[in-house]
């Protein structure tokens, strides 16, 4: 079992540890619902050091990344980040990642923990025409701490004595802390304003302890993977392996906007434009249960006796007190208000398509 540099810290904080893609990670410290609400109301601290981090540099680094992703990285200013799928030739989603552009010759990728090796090999294979290109997996040397919630900006500014106004959503920059370089990015996976901090693995515990110590009296708490999942689901941010895999294309999901056909050639383009022309047979929608019952990944979606799809994610939603989920459904039924059923333990329960996201933060970032 792999451990992040914060493993002992999680144990000290009484974290209930679970295995997640071979990493021992905290599921929760107090309770999933408490932690969820803490992030919505105050702020929460997450160890996301299990996520994979690659550094890519070289003269053709930018065109290389542009070639392997469906979104358009060329239009990004320096020190901006971009969410994008990585697709195969068939348009199937290999992973969904964040691309951080320092400048045209230096970029960083944050990839899903479970896809780290697969992505690295895939990227290496695609890189032959873009040499010389240096690709480094720095996951083990750089820790990643996520600081999320409406109070995160104020807390972070006060604790580290930085001004963070200039850092808009999806921007990032270098900062000096404790004589080391850290990178702060205004990104997250919760639907709240928030930051992700890249810090040398050797300094991770020190930074975590400082952030928690200085802000716990104002309501900052450590947050486990359980609440990370309910927070991202309410915000309708997809989870690889549940909502996406290599048999699913971005056009079928709710991240179709990340496919930029007008940017030139890229891997998967042909298959995706063919799919777009032919029409898409199934669509991902958000739904809520109108009967009692909690939808879970894999549960069948029915319209009367006809099987019309599958649940990809589902949960009790602590912020709305509803049972909500994402599912694939035949395109003709993918419209708001459409009623259908979810099969739960051999019984059918009513649900209906609703607008997404399920939860929208009232307070957006300061700027």
């Amino acid at each position: 079992m792999k451990k992040t540099p914060l493993y002992d810290t999680h144990l000290k904080l009484n974290g209930t540890m679970v295995s997640f893609h071979d990493y021992s990670m905290p599921l929760h410290y107090s309770s999933i619902i408490n932690e969820h609400l803490c992030v919505r109301e105050n702020a929460g601290l997450f160890d996301v050091s299990h996520m994979g981090r690659f550094e890519i540099s070289g003269d053709k680094a930018l065109p290389f990344i542009q070639h392997v992703i469906t979104n358009n990285v060329v239009r990004l200013a320096d020190k901006q980040a971009l969410y994008t799928p990585l697709c195969n030739e068939q348009g199937g989603i290999i992973d969904d990642i964040l691309v951080y552009k320092w400048h045209d010759k230096s970029l960083m990728l944050v990839v899903n923990c479970g896809n780290r090796e697969k992505d690295f090999l895939w990227l290496q294979k695609q890189a032959t025409n873009y040499q010389p290109l240096e690709m480094k997996d720095v996951t083990d040397y750089v820790s990643l701490i996520s600081f999320q919630g409406p109070l995160s900006c104020r807390m972070l500014e006060a604790t580290l004595s930085y001004k963070l106004d200039h850092l808009r959503r999806f921007s990032f920059d270098n900062f000096l802390w404790n004589d080391t370089r850290i990178v702060i990015s205004r990104t997250g996976y919760t639907g709240e304003d928030g930051f992700e901090i890249f810090v040398n693995a050797k300094q991770a515990v020190k930074l975590w302890d400082l952030l928690l110590e200085k802000n716990k009296q104002n309501g900052l708490n450590p947050i486990g993977l359980g609440a990370r999942d309910t927070l991202r689901l309410e915000a309708c941010l997809l989870l690889y392996g549940n909502d996406m895999d290599e048999t699913i294309t971005p056009l079928e999901t709710i991240i179709g906007w990340t496919v930029k056909f007008d940017k030139g050639d890229f891997i998967g383009r042909e298959a995706l434009s063919r799919q777009k022309e032919k029409g898409i047979g199934r669509k991902m929608v958000g739904f809520e249960m109108t009967d009692r019952g909690i939808p879970r990944h894999g549960y069948p979606v029915l319209k009367g006796n006809e099987s019309v799809g599958k649940v990809t994610s589902g949960s009790f939603s602590p912020s709305t007190h509803k049972n909500v989920g994402l599912c694939f459904i035949k395109t003709q039924y993918a419209k708001t208000g459409e009623a259908f059923q979810i099969q739960i333990r051999n019984n059918n329960y009513n649900a209906r398509v609703v607008k997404i996201p399920f939860y929208r933060s009232i307070k957006k970032e300061g700027k």
Binding site: S31, I32, I33, G226, I294, S315, F316, P318, R345
Partner: protein, 129 residues
Amino acid sequence: MNIPNELFYTKTHEWAKKIGPREAVVGITDYAQKQLKDIVFVELPSIGKEVKMGAPCAVVESVKAAYDIYSPLSGKVTKINQKVQEEPQLVNEDPYGEGWFFHMEISDPNEFNKLLNPGQYETGAGFEH
């Protein structure tokens, strides 16, 4: 750990209370609710349903997952706790009181002898930490 004296227990963390010669109340233990945390859904058997000792009879769901609850005794369900279906957090708040699951008519009172007494439950249930 709260393990009331007057109850009978299973290794799978259910409790049964004898309230008549052939009648019992069933629920899950304090240990079980603590392990599950944040109970957000309870599915109870319908009234009249035949349940069997050791067989799944109800479902509780935490935020994270669904878990089967096994009947401590055999018999027929006579009454269910509607309130706990509407307010599942009652199982967390009061597992031996307001968080009860159902009443049942028991088919074989001798089955009580196969259940654990409080002492046996405390030492022998294999609490994992």
